[in-house]
C-alpha cells in the first residue's frame, strides 16, 4: 500500500475537485500538502520511534559509565560474593583501589540479592502459570459469557491495581494472614530433607520470600491469564469440535488440541510475566522485608535487586566517595542485563516455535 502511495498522491483526491474547478493557486497548495502528507507522517513517526530508543541507549550508557568504577573494583566478587558492607558509619578512611576512591572496609558481593531476585520470580512463575492456564480454560471453555465477562474484567482490574497498593495489602493483611494460618500448617509437616527443609520453621511474621513470591504471582497472573484467554479464543472451534466428535474428553481436547495450538504464545506470556516479576520493586520492597542475606527458610525476609536499589539509595548517598552509588549503578546494570536477556529469550522462543496457530494448518 505504501509503495503505491506516491503515485496516488498525484491524482486529485476526488472527481469533484476537478469538476468544480477551484482557482489554480490554492489547488496547487492543496496538492502540495496532499502529496507531502505521507512524508510528514513518515518523518514524525520515524522520530517518534527513534526517540525512546535513543533514550534506552542513553540509559544503558549512563548506567555503564556510572557503574564502571564499581565494576573495576568489585570485579567478579560482585556476582558471587556473600558480604555486602558499604563501610558507611564505620568512620573508615577513604582508600584507593586502581585509582577509584572508596571507603575502607567497603565490600560488595551481591549474590544474596541476585539469588533473592531469581528465586522470588521463579516462585511467582511456578504459582502463576498453572493458575492462569486453568483460569483461562474455565473462562473461555466452560463458563457462560455472562459470568466469564465480569470475571475477566476483574482480572483486568487486578492488572491495573498499582503495585504499591498490592504491597500495602500484602504487608498489612495478606502476609500476616499467611503467617498465621497457612505457613505453620506447611512448616509443621515438612521433613528435614534437602530443599524441603527450607519450608520448615520458623515461619516469621509474613514478611519474606514466600509471601513476596505469592504476591508477585498475583501481580503477574493478569498478564499471563489475559494473554492465555485471548489465545484460547483465537483457536478456531472446528479442530476442537472435530476432536470432541472423535470422542476425546475435555482434558484430551485441551491437552492435545488447544494447548499445543497456543503453546508458544503461553511461553511468551510467561517469560513476559517473569520479566515483570524480576523488575518489580515497590511491592517486593514492602513485603520482602529488604534484608540483605539469603533467608534460612522461605518464610523469612530477603531482598531483590530492584528493592535494594530502592532502599539503599538514601544510605548510599552518604558515602562521600560516591562508590556506594556507583555500586548501585552496577546493580541496576545487572538487573537490566537480566531483564533484557529474559525478554530476548521470550522473542527467541516465540520465533522458534512459530506463531499462534502454527501446529495445524496455519497460514
Amino acid at each position: 500500500m505504501a509503495s503505491v502511495g506516491g503515485a496516488a498522491g498525484r491524482v486529485p483526491a476526488t472527481p469533484h475537485a476537478e469538476s468544480v474547478g477551484k482557482p489554480p493557486a490554492p489547488r496547487r497548495v492543496a496538492d502540495f500538502l496532499r502529496r507531502n502528507e505521507e512524508h510528514a507522517w513518515r518523518g514524525t513517526a520515524w522520530i517518534a520511534v527513534v526517540l525512546p530508543l535513543a533514550a534506552l541507549a542513553f540509559a544503558v550508557s549512563v548506567l555503564a559509565v556510572k557503574a564502571w568504577p564499581a565494576i573495576r573494583v568489585n570485579g567478579w566478587y560482585f556476582l558471587y560474593g556473600r558480604t555486602w558492607t558499604d563501610g558507611i558509619g564505620a568512620y573508615g578512611a577513604t582508600v584507593h583501589t586502581d585509582g577509584v576512591a572508596h571507603l575502607q572496609g567497603a565490600k560488595f558481593g551481591a549474590w544474596a540479592i541476585i539469588w533473592g531476585t531469581v528465586v522470588s520470580s521463579l516462585i511467582a512463575i511456578v504459582i502463576a502459570v498453572p493458575l492462569s492456564i486453568g483460569a483461562a480454560f474455565a473462562l473461555t471453555e466452560r463458563l457462560p459469557s455472562w459470568i466469564s465477562r465480569p470475571l475477566g474484567f476483574t482480572i483486568e482490574i487486578l492488572a491495573g491495581i498499582p503495585s504499591v497498593v498490592i504491597g500495602l495489602w500484602g504487608i498489612l493483611t495478606f502476609g500476616p494472614w499467611l503467617a498465621k494460618n497457612v505457613y505453620p500448617a506447611i512448616a509443621d509437616h515438612m521433613p528435614n530433607v534437602p530443599i524441603l527443609k527450607y519450608f520448615r520453621n520458623p515461619v516469621g511474621g509474613g514478611e519474606g520470600l514466600l509471601s513476596a513470591g505469592i504476591v508477585l504471582a498475583l501481580m503477574i497472573v493478569p498478564i499471563i491469564a489475559s494473554t492465555t484467554r485471548d489465545l484460547f479464543q483465537q483457536v478456531p472451534p472446528l479442530p476442537k469440535e472435530g476432536a470432541s466428535a472423535l470422542g476425546m474428553t475435555d482434558w484430551e481436547v485441551a491437552s492435545k488440541v488447544t494447548l499445543p495450538w497456543v503453546r508458544s504464545g503461553i511461553i511468551g506470556a510467561t517469560v513476559l510475566g517473569l520479566g515483570r516479576a524480576l523488575g518489580e520493586t515497590i511491592a517486593v520492597a514492602m513485603i520482602g522485608g529488604a534484608i540483605l542475606h539469603i533467608p534460612p527458610t522461605v518464610y523469612l525476609p530477603f531482598t531483590t535487586v530492584a528493592a535494594t536499589i530502592l532502599t539503599q539509595l538514601d544510605g548510599a548517598l552518604t558515602d562521600g566517595t560516591g562508590f556506594a552509588v556507583a555500586t548501585l549503578a552496577e546493580l541496576a546494570l545487572v538487573l537490566a542485563v537480566i531483564s533484557v536477556g529474559v525478554n530476548l529469550l521470550a522473542r527467541l522462543i516465540i520465533n522458534r516455535t512459530g506463531r499462534v496457530g502454527a501446529p495445524v494448518g496455519g497460514a
Partner: protein, 324 residues
C-alpha cells in the same frame, strides 16, 4: 466395536476429565478470591475512618488531607498523556504502517521492534535510577516534575506504541484498498480512514497507559522526590503524588498518617477503576456502532457462522480461516 466403547482406559479418562474441570475452577477461585479480598480490603481499610475533607485539604506534617497529592497525580497523568501519547501513537503508526513485515515468513521483525520490546520490559526502577543520575543530578534539575514526566513517559511509550500498532493492524485491508481506490493519497487515507477506525483501540491503550502511570512509585521516588504541597515550577522543586503516601505513611508512627496511606490507596484504586471502566465503555460503544472494531478473532468466527453474507468484509484476510 467393543474395544471402542468399553476400552480399559474409559474410567481413567472419565476421572481425568472431572479432575481437569475441578482444577480449572479451582485455579479461577484461587485467582478471584485474593483479587476480591484485595479490593474489599483496600476499601474497608479506608472506609472505617473516611472523611471527605481528605480531598480538599492540604497535607501537613501531622495529618491534614491529600489535595495536592491528588492534583499532583492528575498533573502527572495529563503530562504523560500529552508527551507519551503523542510519541507513542506516532511510534505505533510507524511500526504498523511504515515497517514492512518479513516477506518470507510473514513474521514481524526488525531492530526497531526488538528495541521497543526491550524497552517495554525494562525495569522501572532502573529507568528511575537513570533519571536520578542523568536528570536530577546530571542536568541539575533536582527532584522535579519535569524529570518525573520524562521518565514516566519513556516507561509507557512502548506500551502505547504496542496497542496502537495492534489496533492499526486490525483495520481491515479492504478499508485501505477502498481509500486507495477512491484516489486518496496514502497520508490522507491514513488520517481519514485507517486512524479513524483504529481510534477506539488507540484510546483504550492510552487509558490503560495512564493507569500504569498513575500507579508507579519506584521511578518517581528517584525523580520527583516528594513534597506536601504543589510547587510552582517544572524543575528544582519536589513534586507531590499519591503513591508515595501509600508507600511511606503506612509505617509512620502517627496514626493519622496511616489513615492517609489507606485513603491514598483507595483514591488510587478509584482512579484506576475509572480509567478501566471508561476504556471498557469506549470499546463497547464502538463495537456497537462500527464494523471495523472486531476485537477478538473468536468474534469473527461467531459472526461468520451467524451471517455468512458478511464474512468477506469481517475477515481481514481469508488465510486466517482454517477452511478457506
Amino acid at each position: 466395536m467393543t474395544s471402542l466403547t468399553a476400552g480399559p482406559s474409559t474410567t481413567r479418562r472419565r476421572v481425568s476429565t472431572i479432575v481437569w474441570r475441578v482444577l480449572t475452577y479451582l485455579a479461577l477461585v484461587l485467582i478471584m478470591a485474593p483479587a476480591a479480598w484485595l479490593l474489599i480490603g483496600v476499601l474497608g481499610r479506608a472506609w472505617s475512618h473516611w472523611r471527605w475533607s481528605v480531598l480538599w485539604t492540604q497535607l501537613t506534617p501531622t495529618g491534614g488531607g491529600l489535595r495536592d497529592q491528588i492534583l499532583g497525580t492528575l498533573i502527572l497523568m495529563v503530562g504523560v498523556f500529552i508527551i507519551a501519547g503523542t510519541i507513542g501513537v506516532l511510534a505505533g503508526i510507524h511500526l504498523a504502517e511504515f515497517t514492512r513485515a518479513h516477506r518470507a515468513s510473514g513474521r514481524l521483525s526488525g531492530p526497531l521492534r526488538t528495541a521497543s520490546d526491550i524497552l517495554s520490559g525494562f525495569p522501572s526502577i532502573v529507568l528511575g535510577y537513570v533519571g536520578y543520575v542523568a536528570l536530577v543530578v546530571g542536568l541539575h534539575w533536582g527532584f522535579s516534575l519535569l524529570s518525573a514526566l520524562i521518565i514516566l513517559s519513556i516507561m509507557v511509550i512502548p506500551y502505547i506504541a504496542k496497542t496502537t500498532e495492534n489496533s492499526l493492524r486490525q483495520v481491515p485491508t479492504g478499508y485501505r484498498e477502498g481509500a486507495e481506490a477512491l484516489g486518496m493519497s496514502a497520508g490522507y487515507g491514513l488520517r481519514k480512514v485507517v486512524l479513524k477506525s483504529a481510534l477506539p483501540g488507540i484510546v483504550t491503550g492510552l487509558l490503560l497507559a495512564l493507569a500504569i502511570a498513575c500507579g508507579e512509585t519506584a521511578p518517581l521516588i528517584y525523580t520527583a522526590g516528594f513534597s506536601n504541597t504543589l510547587p510552582h515550577s517544572l524543575t528544582h522543586a519536589q513534586f507531590p503524588y499519591l503513591t508515595y503516601v501509600v508507600f511511606q505513611f503506612y509505617n509512620d508512627p502517627s496514626v493519622q498518617k496511616h489513615y492517609l496511606s489507606y485513603d491514598a490507596a483507595l483514591i488510587l484504586v478509584v482512579i484506576v477503576l475509572l480509567l478501566l471502566v471508561s476504556s471498557r465503555i469506549v470499546v463497547s460503544r464502538t463495537q456497537r456502532h462500527s464494523e471495523s472494531s472486531r476485537g477478538k478473532q473468536g468474534r469473527i468466527f461467531g459472526r461468520f457462522r451467524q451471517d455468512p453474507s458478511r464474512a468477506p468484509e469481517a475477515v481481514p484476510n481469508a488465510g486466517d480461516l482454517p477452511l478457506a
